[in-house]
Every structure is written in C-alpha cells, then in structure tokens.
Amino acid sequence: MGGNGWRLAEGGRIDRSRPLRFRFDGRDHVGFHGDTLASALLANGVRLSARSFKYHRPRGIMGAGVEEPATLVHLAGELASGNRPATTLRLSDGLEAWPVNAWPSARLDIGAVNQMIARLIPAGFYYKTFKWPDWHLYEPAIRRAAGLAPAPATPPDGAWEARHAHADILIAGAGPAGLMAALVAGRAGARVILADEGIEAGGSLLTRRLSIAGAPALDWVTAAVAELAALPNVMHLQDAAVWACREHNLVMVEERAPSRPAILGRSWRVRAGRVITATGAIERLMVFEGNDQPGVMLASAAQAYVNRWAVRPGRRAVVFTNNDSAYAAAADLARAGVEVAAIVDSRDPVPEHARAASAGLPVLAGHVVRSTQGGRALRAVTVAPLAGGGARRIDCDLLAVSGGWSPAVHLYSQSRAPIAWDDRLAAFLPAGPAGPVAAAGAADGALELGVALADGAAKARAALADLGFAPPDAALPEAEDLPYGITPLWTVPGAGAKAFLDIQNDVTVADIELALREGYSSIEHVKRYTTGGMGLDQGKTGNVNIIGAVAERLGKTPGEVGVTTFRPPWTPVEFGAIAGRRSGPVVLPYRHTPLTDWHMDQGAVIYEAGARWRRPGYYPRLGEAFQDTVNREARTVREGVGIYDGAPLGKYEIKGRDAARFLDWIYTNVFSSLTVGNGRYGLMLTDDGLILDDGVSFRLAEDRFVMSTSTGNADAVGQHMEKLLQIERPDWQVMITNVTSQWANATICGPKARAVLQAMGTDIDMSPAAFPFMSVRDGRVAGLPARVARVSFTGELSFEVNVRPRDLPALWAAAMTAGAPFGITPIGSEANHVLRVEKGFLSLGHEVDGTADPHDLGMSWVMAAAKPDFIGKRSVDLRRASGRPRRELVGFRPLDPDRQVPEGAPLTPGGRTEATEGFVTACVWSVVEGRWLGLALLQDGRARIGTRAHVRLPGGVIEVELCPPVFHDPKGERLRS
C-alpha cells in the first residue's frame, strides 16, 4: 500500500495511523480505519473483485454505497455472512472476505466458461429447454450453480435485539435534508428519531466538496450532529438502515453495530407521528457495450473514493455523462491527480455552468462511449458522436459514468404515497398530497444542496404543525451547488448483448429486446422474464434504465411504462435482527400449574396441552412400558383412587341480574332452572351450529354462576361470551371474570375418593344425600378453604377440590399422604383419555372436530327444544332440514380384541378403497373390558349399531362391531355413588 500510488497522501476520512490487515480472495492486504472493504481494495489496486451471476464476467467495484451491484462478498469466521456489498462493509482488522459465486477465485473463475455459451442462454432460456427427458436431470446442477454465497451453517455467537420505539417524527437519512429536518424538529421539542444507514452522518456531503455558510459542508455536519446530541428529545442512530415504512407509520430500522449493550444488531419498530424520508438519490449507470468491465464506475462513486477515502480509482479517466453532476466529479478526480482524458457528454450543447465546474477539462459534447476495451481491467474506451460518425479510442483505466439520478423514493412509495414520472429530472418523484409520510431533499427531487436544505426544513415544519408543535424560526444556511440538468440517454446506439442494464443479474439490452419481441411487454413481465431488478440490490442502479429502455422501444414515456412495486426491505436485513432475542418461550409461551414442577420431579412425561399448558401425560415407573403405565393409572381410578391436576381447566365467574338468562342463550340447554348449589353440563355452539365447547356450570347464587370450560378453549369461550354481550346484548347486566388462574384444583376420583377426602379432613358433609352428584359445596379440606364440586370426567365417584393456587401444593400433599393407605395414584392425560372413552364422554379435537353437531354426537337431549332461541339453534335446525346423511357417534369393538385401531383411521364401506363413511375418533385399551375398543363418527351410525363396519388401512382391513358409545356403567351409577 501507499507505494503503489492509489492512496492519496493526504485528505479523506481515514485514519492513516490505524492500519488494518485484511484478506480478500485469498490474498493479504492492508487498509485503514475508516475504509470500507471497497475503498481498501481500490487502494490496494484490486480491480477485478467479483464475477457476475450468470455469465461469470469479471467485475470490479462500481458503486460506493448500498447501490453497489457488482462486488458482493461473503465473510469468513466470526462475522460469517454472505452477499454483502463490499462498499458498505466497514473494514476491520483480520477481516476475511471472499467474492461470492466465484471458484476458486474471482481471478480464476471456472464458471467463466458460461461466457462462451452466452448466446445460448439469453433471458428466459430455461423456459424453452431442459424439458427432455425431465427437468430433474438438470435441476441439481442448476441449483448448485445458482445462489450466491454459501448458506450460513452455524448459529452465530451473540444475540440481536428487537424493540419498540415511539417518536413524533422519524427522519430516515442524515444527509443535508435529513439533518436540517432533524434540527428544525429537535429544536421545536418534538421527540425525534434520526436514523441513517451510513457509518457516519452527512450523506452526500461526505463525498462531495461543497460549502455551507461559507465553510466546508462537513463543518456544518459536525455542528449539526453535536447540536442533535445535546437535545434530549432527539435520538440519532448511525449505521441504522430504515428498511420499511408500513401502515400507520410503523417504520422499521436495522441498527447494525450498536455499542451498547454488546449485541450483533438491533431491530427498531418505530411508531412515528410523522415520517420524513430524506434518503437521497441513486446514480444510474450508462448503458453501452461492455459497461460492466472492471474499471467502469459510477461517477459519484469515483468522486467518493477520492474525496472520502483518499483513493484514486484510476490513473487516467474518461467521464461519460448525460447530466451536469458528473462535471463536479470530473473536477474532483482531476484535483486528486487523476488525469481526466475527456468528459464525454451525450448532450450538445453542454450547459455553461457544467463546463465551468470542470474548468479546463476536455469536453466531447454530443458524444457517447460505444464500447470498452480490456478484459480483466479497462484499457480504453471507444468514443463516437451520438449522431453517428467516426469513432476514436481513448486510453484509460477508469470510466466514470453518470446516467442521471433517481431519487430514492423506495420508503416513500412503500408507505403507499404515489410517485410520478418527472420529465425535467428524468426520474420518478414523490407526487402525493401532504400526508403523514413526506419525502425531503434529493429523495424529493431536490438535487441541489440549497434546495435540499430548504426542503428538509420545510417538511419538518409541516410535520411539526400537523402534530401541534410551534415550528421554531430557523434561518437556512447559505449553500452553493451546481444546478442539475439532464437529457436522458437510456441506451447508447448499438448497445446489445454486452450492454448491461442489471449488473447483478446479468440482464442486457438484448435480453430486454428479446422479452419485448416475445410479447413480455408489461414492465412486470420484462422484470420477471429477464430477472432484471430482482437481485440483492433490487435494481437500485438499473431499474429506471430498464424502464427507460423499454419506453424507448415501445414508443412510450417512462411514466406510461410505470414502475414495479417498491417493497421492503430497502436493503437486506438479517433475520436474526428481526427476531431479536425472541426464541423458545417467547415464540411459544408456556404455562405452568402450581404443580408442574412436582409432576416433573415425579418423572411425569409432560405434554403440551391446550392453551400452552404443560401438564403430565403419564407417570412411568422405572422399567414400566408405556401401555402398562396407562393401564395402571386407569385401573387405579376404576378400582381404587386416582388424583389429577385440574388447574388448567377454564373457569369464569358470571355475575349479574341477567346471568341466568345469558347462560340460557349461549348454552343449548336451560340454566335458569338450576337451583343454587347445583350444576349442569352444558354444550355451547357457535351461530354456525357447530360445537364450540362444553363444560359444567354451577349456580353459586341467584345472580352468580361459575362456568368451567375445556382447557384449550378457555380463551375462545371468553371471547365468544364477551362479544355476544358487548355487541349483541349491551343492555343485559352480566359481568364476566376469568378465574382460571384464581382457582386450581386437584380432582380425586375413584371408588375410594370419598374415603380419601374424609381422611384429609373436611367440614363438608360428604354423604351422597347431602352432597349429591353435580352439586358444589364451599368449606375446608385439609384445613384449606375449598370449593368442592361433584363432577366426573372419568365416570367414577369424583370430587373436584378447588383451592387457591397458592394452596394447591399443600392440598395435593395432604391428599397424597391421606390417600396413601388407599393407594392413591397421580394420573395423566393418557389415562384420562382411556377413562373418558370407556364412558363415551366427548373430547374436543377428537369427536368434536369442528364439523359435528350435537345430534351427531347423540346429544339431542342437551338441545332444549322448548327454548325459542339459543346461539346455534337456527343453524343446527337448518342443516338438519337438508336431510343430508350425517356422521353419528358410535362405539366399536374390533373383532380381534388385541387389534389396536389407529386413531384417525377411515371407515369405508366394506373396507374397500373408496370414499370414507366415517373415521375412528379414539381407540384405547380398555381396563374394564381388557381389550381394544373405541369411538367413531360413522354415517348413519346409530342405526347401524349391532352391525359390523370396516376400518380401511393401507395394509388391510380391520373389522369392528358397532355398539353404543358407552362401555362402562351406562346407567351412571358409579359417578352418582
């Protein structure tokens, strides 16, 4: 370095006292603090730094920022990530980068053979070939060739953060317009967030030599940044890209290297009252044969390299332009010691102010660059008059091109504000009425510094006024800039198969012409057929050129051709940042009962139950097989006593003058007739006539009920009830309180349950007469305040002992101690499943699968026919009226008692391979019958009880005998005992 003459001896925003070693494409180099990888490569004389996607053509560095279409790298080591533009990559010590899509290196790339068959693989070629004999023959090779960087293989060390923020005004971009807007808004006292994707603030002022208020513009930047830092109401984020502007002013920012806390990056969800997009403008390429050669560079990038990074991107330059801004770039190149052989301007005449800006440099007005010479590095360009005529060769190793400027309307347009074509600037510009999102500065078409500053201030003042702030009086600083004018030249005559419109995806003028020739003439068709604008850069330098080229060929204006939609992200965003620390429990929350830890200590296998509760599936003992465990637990309940944790059961207190009337309305059966202290099973439907939930409700007082719901549906039932009340019956006096977590319960069930409760000690009269089935009593159990309900989900004598969750561990311990002599055993959901199937009790997700109605399930008894209306009645009746055959709940026993039938298995007529007539909802090993049996929903099932049906499996047929869906204690004597 240094000695090769690429790096200037002084100037630039680099720290020559802090050298940084890095490795690129297998070779070692040294750069400085303040460099990007791109500036360091140029300073080390590296010109060939990439290979193109399709043809593997040699490419260099063409841009100086996010617009870079050519040199993408992937990083090795700790920073491992792929497809990063070298121009936005801050150089760090030890950085190791490789060009993507080149093997073994960009210099010796094997894939370059594709250049030899380029003629065979024009746009869309793959739609026409690779069909015979089959696409699968070609696909693996194409997949390997496609893709750019390798996929990340290991999770990174470290974490990202995603967080919320709120601002009165969010400003995207800390260039001149953004800084000016931030100053005005900040001084007014508004909460301001200023976010800029650059490593430092300043935007275009960092790369151009301009003055503000008579001093170097960067002095003004420094002062502005300092003033903003001192304002407590302003937050200023650098290295923070605003990548999306969504509905209701939700603005997404990716902060790439936060200093505190030490995280890899941070995603900000900013909700802003007003948004100002001061995102600058992007320079376009010129389009001619060989415009992609290493050595061809955007004029603004060449200017940035000499001014900001003190690097000469070449020794002898030609500047090719159709507008005024390149003249300043040419002047800066010359000032840095680059010999400017010519400024080739397609316009004639060239405005005087432009000539003046580059005083003394030779200008070829009305000329164009027709082609470039050289292979891996530019050696010369061929220049000719635009109108035709004698070509001449100019030796050079740098061609700085400027096809004009496209305001970065991306964020503005994402907010759904309209844009429109502007002939004067030859660009799409913000065209919306004043709204919550405004563009400012170059992004608004204000391409001259003074106008940009004024625009930034004006947009801030408008936003302040909208929000009710008094805008401060602010004098605008004086600024001088070159006026901007352009006469577009979309493609140089003769541009064809090697004139690139989209550098990254290798889309040429010939490709566009082919697309149009074949009828793909909508701009969306052109984009999709050629893949132009679909690369990582999303066509930042090329899209408008494509639109211009298409317009030219169709005889339309670019405005008539239109743009493809601007979609987030503005620049690629790491998925890690989007998720932040959200993982595991924050992706899928979980819920514990007061006993979940106890269950786990007992070795229970924990299941993910409904509503995210974690509860025991079964409690295996050492050496015990799964089925043995389930049998043991189920048998305990049938023969002795079991206990289970019922805490997750949904519970609501329903209070008010109209509480009973409300229950009558939302349940299919009647609750108003229930006497205090007693309970009733209820079935709840939606107005579609489908089952929503079931459960038992008890009447605690005339105006007060406690309702239980299934675990998984507790929230849905709450939503259903509140919606009906607040939307349909606001005049009813009903108040609902969710007490799911206020009452936990241990359910003690089995023939010896009463004995256990008595052994635990209770002041409730436990005799069947005093405390019958389906009643509820308040009292004390084991000294704890309890509400005991006689309900049964197992078919046995059962007491649901409800206590405050804080008391549940003590209650449980008391039950285990007092129950020990009776052999009390904790049971999990597997055994519960067996017990409920034996009783023919319904289970949501099994029999209640979202399609069955109560009649199907044999529950016509629960449909109070006398009630004129309840939720769901009208639809159930209507559906019945169609006379369509229904699937009805039946029990079944496989003829072979040892044959398990898979749950979910279809039943077909005769077991044949034809449309199903039902399916198995549940099948368990019954401890009371000592065999497999189950439940099924079967067409006209009830009428077929006593006959046989056939389960059709891939491997054969299982014949089953149909029976009523209750296998155990059909009269219910045990649960009433």
Binding site: A262, I263, R591, P648, Q733, T740
Partner: protein, 166 residues
C-alpha cells in the same frame, strides 16, 4: 458491558380484587374501603396502602398487600354483593415483576409496544397492554416499572425478561 443495567425481580403476591359495575354502584357497595375513584382511564389512585386501578370500562382492580386480603374480602363481601356489582378476589391470578435500574425502559421497550415515555405514561399510569405476546399490566414502580401477568405464565415471563436484559 454485556447487558443492560437493570434488575429483574419477582414481587410477592398481592391482594387483588376485581371490581365490575357502574362506578356509583361500586362506590355504594364498597364505601370507604376503596381509595377515591381514578379520574382517568388507565390510571390509579392510592390511599392507606391500597391502590385502585381503572383498567377498563366499568372495570377496576383493587390492589393491596397480601396481608390486607382477608380484611378486604371481609369488608367487600364478594358473596353478598348485589347483582349490579361484581366483586371477585383474584390475588392468585397475577404474578408481579419489577424491572428497575437505569436501563429499565430499554428492557420494557423490548417487552411491550406501549409508549412508556413520561409525557405519555404518567406517574399514576396503570394499564393492561401486550408484553411478550401476553396480556400484561404495567405500572410505574420505584426505579422502574412493575409488570403483572397471569400467574401461570410466571416462569415463562421471567425467562423472557431475563433474556431481554441480555
């Protein structure tokens, strides 16, 4: 520094009584057991160690030390309340956490989209909102914020808060 300068701590169970009904009816039933009714939605008033939070239309929470629970229940007589008033003890339903320290607001900004800036979320503010996808009550707490969620989520929310603190 690797994480935020913040302390995450589990707070003890509080006495919490859920109150629903018209303010006048509630005032009539509850008498001077309650602090003065808050004037604004999502704000709270305090008196003699009790706080009254106006958390929804016709909906308040009365919070106090757990030691006060029995006396509150005795005074408010949930089982005897008239039809137009709902009084339900829900102390066990909520688990409370304190997020305190210089960076408390940073951690809260990870947890919840609610704007907790002092000009928006005042000293007496108390509101249910969303935190880590859950329904959560946020209040100011000496040196930071208190966050309350359904108790069944307590282990999960503690994990989430600790993760967010870095």
């Amino acid at each position: 520094m690797t994480g935020y300068d913040v302390a995450i701590e589990s707070l003890p169970m509080q006495a919490v009584i859920d109150l629903k009904g018209e303010a006048a009816a509630l005032a009539g039933w509850c008498g001077d057991v309650l602090p003065q009714f808050p004037a604004r939605p999502n704000s709270l008033t305090r008196a003699s160690g009790r706080a009254l939070l106006h958390i929804g239309p016709g909906h308040w929470l009365l919070c106090a030390d757990l030691a006060d629970e029995d006396s509150l229940i005795a005074a408010l007589r949930p089982d005897a309340a008239p039809p137009q008033v709902s009084v339900v003890p829900v102390s066990d339903s909520l688990a409370h956490f304190a997020v305190t320290g210089p960076d408390a607001a940073e951690v809260m900004a990870v947890a919840t989209p609610l704007d907790l800036h002092p000009t928006v979320f005042a000293e007496d503010a108390a509101s249910f909102t969303e935190a880590f996808g859950l329904r959560a009550l946020v209040r100011r707490h000496p040196g930071g914020f208190a966050l309350s969620v359904d108790r069944s989520f307590a282990p999960m929310i503690l994990q989430a808060l600790s993760l967010s603190a870095g």
